[in-house]
């Protein structure tokens, strides 16, 4: 049933009607988000997608529940209808999220072939950090 709802939502996106994924709706955000380790402070609070001019546009709101600033690393994986990747691996992108801030990340698919996506997210307090070098807390920050 969930799959049908998701397919319908993507169908709407293809028609140019934006669809909103909400955490309350049976974990539909969860189906698009891949966390590298459980993130305690950062959460995706809102996610929207629409296909416009042939390009998939995504808007994700990341909420920081901590009063301290949090470093987020993220990247998108672009897929076609059959789940194949249509673009090369994206670089990981750093994003600094201030204490209690809700940050909006807007992206556009790099290819006209993209009809679906996954959002990979990681915060350094978890395992499996995609960064290299001196990026421990207190090290270099990149915004």
């Amino acid at each position: 049933m969930k799959k049908i709802a998701m397919t319908a939502a993507l169908g709407l996106a293809l028609l140019g009607t934006p669809f909103i994924l909400q955490a309350a709706e049976g974990g539909s955000i969860a189906s698009k988000v891949e966390e590298l380790g459980k993130m305690t402070h950062l959460k995706v609070s809102d996610m929207r997608a629409v296909k416009r001019d042939g390009l998939l546009r995504i808007q994700v709101t990341i909420a920081n529940s901590s009063s301290d600033k949090q470093q987020l690393y993220y990247r998108f994986r672009w897929l076609d209808d059959d789940g194949f990747t249509v673009w090369e691996e994206e670089p990981w992108k750093p994003e600094l999220i201030h204490g209690l801030q809700k940050k909006v990340i807007s992206v556009v698919s790099p290819s006209f072939k993209a009809t679906d996506f996954r959002l990979e997210m990681q915060s350094p307090e978890n395992e499996g950090a995609p960064f290299s070098g001196n990026n421990a807390p207190g090290g270099i920050t990149n915004q």
Binding site: R75, P91, K93, P94, V108, S109, P110, N134, N135, T141
Partner: protein, 203 residues
């Protein structure tokens, strides 16, 4: 006579088997283990200097922004040509700005944008055309004709600048890349965008 339990013999045997498996199946040449391959897409924070992550983020943002513009979408449909002028490096560091423009052109090309070469690559093109036409070595019917190269309708141009501030305990670097899409015939800037990056380090 010492009697071994089957379990005590099994563990060393398994260990030996797994170690030998590692040695034989790893597709690596001999080395002392001090060199390793990393993730080319990883966030690189070795120093505050402009690095791979910055270049990748700038190119990605510019490509995404360019693809949305009506001029580029028309250029794809009507096969209008693009080219990239050298991006000016106004920062205090040395790096090859072609790292950025080459990636942008490659990513646009994957979406159907056609671009022509210019600048440094032009000499090789001219040399080959001359070789085919003036050396007398090639069949006329099978050689590229002179005078058929196509000029670009649009060119990409831009600059990257930085502001560096150093305190007693902190170093802060602000980078700003500006890119423009200019119609060559008219000089009109049809599109422009910026990417800002802030990096800071404790000293």
């Amino acid at each position: 006579m010492i009697a071994f339990k089957p379990q005590t013999l099994l563990l060393p045997a398994l260990l030996a088997l797994s170690l030998s498996a590692c040695q034989t199946t790893s597709p690596t040449a001999a080395g002392d283990g001090s060199v390793s391959y990393g993730d080319a897409k990883a966030v690189e924070t070795v120093t505050t200097d402009l690095g791979s992550t910055d270049i990748q983020m700038i190119a990605e943002k510019m490509t995404q922004s360019l693809l949305q513009t009506p001029e580029v979408q028309t250029a794809i449909k009507k096969r209008q040509l693009l080219m990239a002028s050298p991006v000016q490096n106004k920062t205090s560091e040395y790096f090859d700005t072609r790292l950025i423009t080459d990636t942008i052109l490659t990513q646009l090309q994957k979406n159907g944008v056609k671009y022509v070469i210019g600048g440094e690559d032009m000499q090789n093109q001219v040399d080959e055309l001359r070789r085919q036409n003036q050396s007398g070595l090639y069949k006329k019917s099978k050689s590229a004709k002179v005078g058929n190269m196509e000029g670009a309708k649009y060119r990409l141009d831009g600059s990257i600048s930085s502001i560096v501030k150093k305190g007693s305990t902190v170093k802060d670097v602000y980078y700003k890349m500006n890119l423009r899409l200019i119609e060559i015939e008219t000089g009109i800037v049809e599109w422009s965008d910026e990417k800002e990056i802030r990096k800071s380090a404790k000293r």
